[in-house]
């Protein structure tokens, strides 16, 4: 199976603090890959390295075989990686619908951004339907409940037609039913060929969702594999429950 992203031998430090030490993993095509680990383990740092916000000290990040390390964030986004944020970042002045239009604009030529486009409108409608936010299309996005805002953020990210979708704690603020809906939506997208990398604290949600998982602790990867294997891994159990468990 081909890998959409290869994250190899990455070190990232901030001053004297090593946020990531020699972290490597691959993200297979059309799979949901999860990253779990305690707070401060380096999960969001991985996202920031992939999206170009940080420049690591060492390592390589390849998207479909092309090195993307060192590219400006907007170039990485246009190359096909889109993300959501742990602390939601929606555009404060915009309605849900405007988010759907905007996220499709940057990849098209200038002239087509000025002219109305039926293809863009149709894709926008599809995105809202997919994440169940059509009913709030004309509301200012940041005025919506937290869980709905997360869906708007995911719809915005998916509207960019990414090759790889990064989700940072997508079920935070959602109740059990909403999380279950989201699981089905994400698995549906995977079945259509989308590759997803997801960070989440909710272990049970991740076990049901992911095809593969990687476990981080203190900036190092301590385990990787199928969810069932991860669950039995002694290093993982030690990290989550303490050394004596």
């Amino acid at each position: 199976m081909a890998n959409v992203l290869e994250f190899h031998d990455v070190d990232q430090s901030f001053g004297g603090i090593k946020a990531l030490t020699d972290v490597s993993f691959d993200i297979p095509q059309a799979c949901i890959t999860g990253i779990i680990g305690p707070n401060g383990a380096g999960k969001t740092t991985i996202f920031n390295v992939i999206t170009g916000a940080y420049r690591p000290d060492r390592g390589s990040v390849r998207l479909n075989g092309q090195e993307i390390l060192g590219l400006a964030p907007y170039r990485i986004a246009r190359a096909g990686i889109s993300r959501t944020f742990q602390n939601i970042r929606l555009f404060a002045s915009m309605t849900v619908w405007e988010h759907m239009l905007l996220s499709q604009a940057p990849r098209t030529p200038m002239l087509s951004r000025i002219l109305p486009s039926r293809a863009v409108a149709e894709r926008g409608e599809r995105m809202m339907e997919l994440f169940g936010i059509s009913a709030v299309r004309d509301r200012i996005a940041v005025s919506l409940p937290y869980g709905v805002q997360r869906k708007v953020e995911m719809a915005r990210a998916y509207a960019m037609e990414p090759k790889l979708l990064l989700l940072d704690e997508p079920v935070a603020g959602m109740n059990h039913d909403e999380a279950e809906d989201l699981r089905q939506t994400l698995q549906g997208l995977r079945d259509k060929g989308l590759s997803i990398l997801i960070i989440e604290h909710d272990m049970r949600f991740m076990m049901n969702l992911c095809d593969e998982m990687h476990v981080m602790n203190y900036g190092r990867k301590i385990a990787g594999g199928r969810p069932a294997e991860i669950q039995r891994d002694p290093a993982v159990i030690a990290a989550y429950l303490g050394e004596d468990a």
């Binding site: 907007y74 555009f91 404060a92 604009a105 951004r113 990210a157």
Partner: protein
């Protein structure tokens, strides 16, 4: 029939509206420019020189001036990319003063003595340019390109991560604003028939900002209201001669206290849409 006094007011209002729009386009990306009188001076002097000394017809002269001013907008825009908020406002203020001082000392365009010899333009010509620029801005407001401009203002980092080159967006806004201010300057020169560096001081730049903020800084239509008010109020308050500036100031403070977003905002139009749908 309009008296020439009224026609003068309408012309002044139109030019003020263009100035307000020039600030509005730049502010829509979250950048406050206090130096647009500088771009206006470039437009005024260059277009006047082109029509008087080079014998060029006015319309192409305005287009050339706007283009040259846009290039200056690009040059000013680059350092502005590294500055935000107050610091950017200071830098643009400095630019405005720099242009004014340049023309004060530049003898070929008259220096402190000013420049004259332009032919008077009819009111419809000024209104035509104003309507054209206003229409362009209002059409742009409905496009996805404008959403990008707003995105830079809302959250620049998130804008980058949806694939926007925010540098290009900000520079384009600066260039557009500079071009619009130059058109305003060219029209002013061919309306007043005499220009001097003092026409393009800091007070002119603040007047633009004031008109836009008073009318509503989140949409172009706000600038129409703001420019109209700014032109009309001193006339309406004429009976209070000595106090009219003070009354004007108090009104301004009151509007900003009650409606920080200005008199118009996007919701005003949103309500109209809602109304139509409900019926």
């Amino acid at each position: 029939m309009m008296s020439s006094y009224q026609a003068g007011l309408v012309a002044d209002g139109s030019i003020l509206l263009l100035g307000a729009l020039s600030v509005y386009v730049i502010l829509s990306t979250g950048q406050l420019s206090l130096g647009n009188a500088g771009f206006m001076a470039i437009g005024a002097y260059l277009s006047s020189w082109l029509t008087v000394s080079a014998g060029m017809p006015l319309t192409p002269a305005i287009v050339v001036s706007a283009a040259v001013s846009a290039v200056f907008g690009l040059i000013i825009g680059f350092p502005a990319l590294r500055l935000k908020g107050l610091y950017l406002a200071m830098a643009t203020l400095g630019f405005g003063e720099m242009v004014r001082t340049f023309f004060l000392n530049f003898e070929p365009t008259g220096g402190a003595g000013g420049f004259s010899g332009m032919e008077h333009v009819p009111l419809w010509y000024i209104l035509g340019w104003t309507a054209f620029v206003l229409a362009c801005v209002m059409i742009c407001e409905r496009t996805r390109w404008w959403l990008e401009i707003r995105a830079v203002n809302d959250d620049e980092l998130a804008a980058g991560l949806v694939g926007m080159n925010t540098t290009v967006t900000k520079l384009m806004a600066f260039m557009t604003g500079a071009a619009i201010a130059a058109v305003a300057g060219a029209l002013l020169a061919h309306q007043n028939l005499y220009i001097e560096p003092g026409n393009f001081g800091f007070d002119r730049s603040t007047e633009f900002v004031l008109a836009m903020i008073l009318g509503g800084s989140s949409l172009a239509a706000g600038s129409i209201v703001g420019a109209a008010l700014l032109i009309m109020l001193p006339e309406l308050l004429r009976d209070f001669v000595d106090w009219r500036i003070a009354i004007f100031g108090a009104l301004l403070v009151a509007v900003l206290l009650v409606r920080r977003q200005g008199i118009l905002d996007r919701n005003v139009f949103g309500l109209a849409k809602f109304w139509r749908r409900a019926n």
